[in-house]
Amino acid sequence: MRRQSLILVLIALLAGWSAAPAPARADIVINVDQGASQPLPIAVSAFSGSPVGGQISQVITANLERSGLFRPVDPAAFPERSFDVNLQPHFDLWKAVSAQALLTGQVVSEQDGRLRVDFRLWDVYAGEQLLGLQFTSTPDNWRRIAHKISDAVYEKLTGEKGYFDTRVVFVAESGTKLKPVRRLKIMDQDGANPSYLTDGSYLVFTPRFSPTRQEITFMALRPTGASIYLFNLETGRQEVLGHFPGMVFAPRFSPDGRKVAFSAEKAGNTDIYVMDLGNHATERLTTDPAIDTSPSFAPDGGQIVFNSDRGGSPQLYVMSSDGASAHRISFGSGRYMTPVWSPDGKFIAFTKQEGALFHIGVMRPDGSGERLLTTSYLDEGPSWAPNSRVVMFSRQTRGAGTGLWMVDISGQVTRPAPYPMSASDPAWSPLLN
């Protein structure tokens, strides 16, 4: 085991997640302090050459630790501290502190003022370099460099894309239950650089990122009615999508970013529509008298999973993206809502309500393999990290506020997302370019 390649260990761990049978009910109760079964010990040394090197290392360490797949070695135990990035570490010393992987790096200020960061990822037990890369950017962009290094390390050691160079848009909550204030807010996935996008003069809900542009869509609610918006994050331009006589809500982009699917209500009946963002042509996809809402496109754009109570209670259905051949996929006990197709297409995350409890769960698109990942008074609104390994959601704690939480798809690592205040409706961005 000790001699085994650490890459194989992590890949086996990831494979085990996918193949894991549905856990028994008792296992669904999550221990927040319990990490993945075998997180990989990794030592992230302070990058040399500049004070910002230590900050970069801290950001990387926090990212890897938060994933639940890594257990950072306590820096106080490090046997070596200052590295020339081009020299081999003393692997025997690092074995002695049980580090299986070691990350070293250095920061150089280029003559043009830009920051160049080199790093090396070492397999301590094999005694060899796994990866060496360098990134260059402006000094104020050091956090993004740290996120890109985190992604490179994650990908090398797991075989899967990382998700650290991403942002999260969500609804920051303030006021009281009787007089709520809701503002759109955006932050880096690790909680850095938080910034408000709306002023709180109207209620906002359910933001979603465009898969292709720095753009979001969201629902706004005023006493005069509901509307759905496009909001370009680069230009700040906002656009109301169409005018509807009744309620309009639950907007989501198609995978090519060219359409928005949403729900609109007429005379009490809610159906799913899709609007072409080029010419604003709107097509109605469902026509039955039941509630049809919370649409989510498959990543190939060919199908839509949605929430309907046409069978008597809210359940999940899949239809082709022109509205044809809708069929039910959820058959467990309880009520199923807010389905969200994973970016890799393999899973549908959902909210399940059963008895007095709510869960975030996943199932395959054919409805098989249902697993519940979380349990609480009120969990809802899952959103996938771009690598389909982690889901962020809202958790309302009884008698307390609502906050952002995250869970990996094994259900082993449930923890608060790095935003300490009241918030709901998180939406994870794609990887930044």
Partner: protein, 187 residues
């Protein structure tokens, strides 16, 4: 009238006295520990006054003017309640809606908005749809009982505007409602 104003003043003074007593009682705790010199410690009797307590919004009182929004709320009723995940009008809703229809029949210039509300035990989006059903159920009943459809707007607040902040079964039941709100035309 004079009597009641005097009575009010007396109550106010009593309340102020009680508040200042409370401030004295809590003063030693407020000072707290720490390396503060004697000059920084507030002297007894010179403690800052307590922050002002909350006051409710000004609610209209006195005789009910016929045709006013208050008349509607008191004498017709502005709320009907629903069972969990249901938009069927309950038996106890019908007399309220009958009274609303009668009242609106008397005051033709009044326009109303029906707000559909849900308890928090559901997802945000499903509840927007459910609240819309509830608002529409109220609207259809009023229209069927003679109120012109053009006088009635609807909106769904889903679970976003509870009237009771609690999470007891009773609070949740209150939050599953159709709320008729006068938009304009009241006297």
């Amino acid at each position: 009238m004079v009597f009641s104003i005097r009575r009010g003043l007396e109550l106010t003074l009593l309340f102020a006295a009680a508040a200042s007593l409370a401030a004295c009682a809590s003063h030693p705790k407020l000072a707290g520990p720490g390396p503060t010199g004697p000059s920084e410690r507030p002297e007894r009797g010179f403690a800052p006054p307590p922050p002002p307590g909350p006051v409710t919004e000004g609610e209209e009182t006195g005789p009910v003017r016929p045709g006013s929004a208050r008349d509607f709320v008191i004498n017709a009723g502005d709320l009907v309640y629903f069972d969990f995940d249901s938009y069927s009008l309950r038996d106890d809703a019908r007399p309220v809606l009958d009274a609303q229809a009668q009242w609106l029949g008397r005051y033709h210039e009044v326009r109303v908005r029906i707000e559909g509300n849900c308890d928090e035990r559901g997802t945000r989006e499903y509840n927007f749809a459910l609240g819309a059903r509830r608002a529409n159920a109220v609207r259809e009943y009023l229209v069927a009982h003679g109120v012109s459809a053009s006088r009635i707007d609807t909106i769904s607040y889903g679970k976003e505007r509870p009237i009771d902040p609690g999470d007891s079964d009773e609070a949740l039941a209150r939050n599953r409602n159709g709320h008729s709100v006068i938009l304009e035309g009241a006297r």
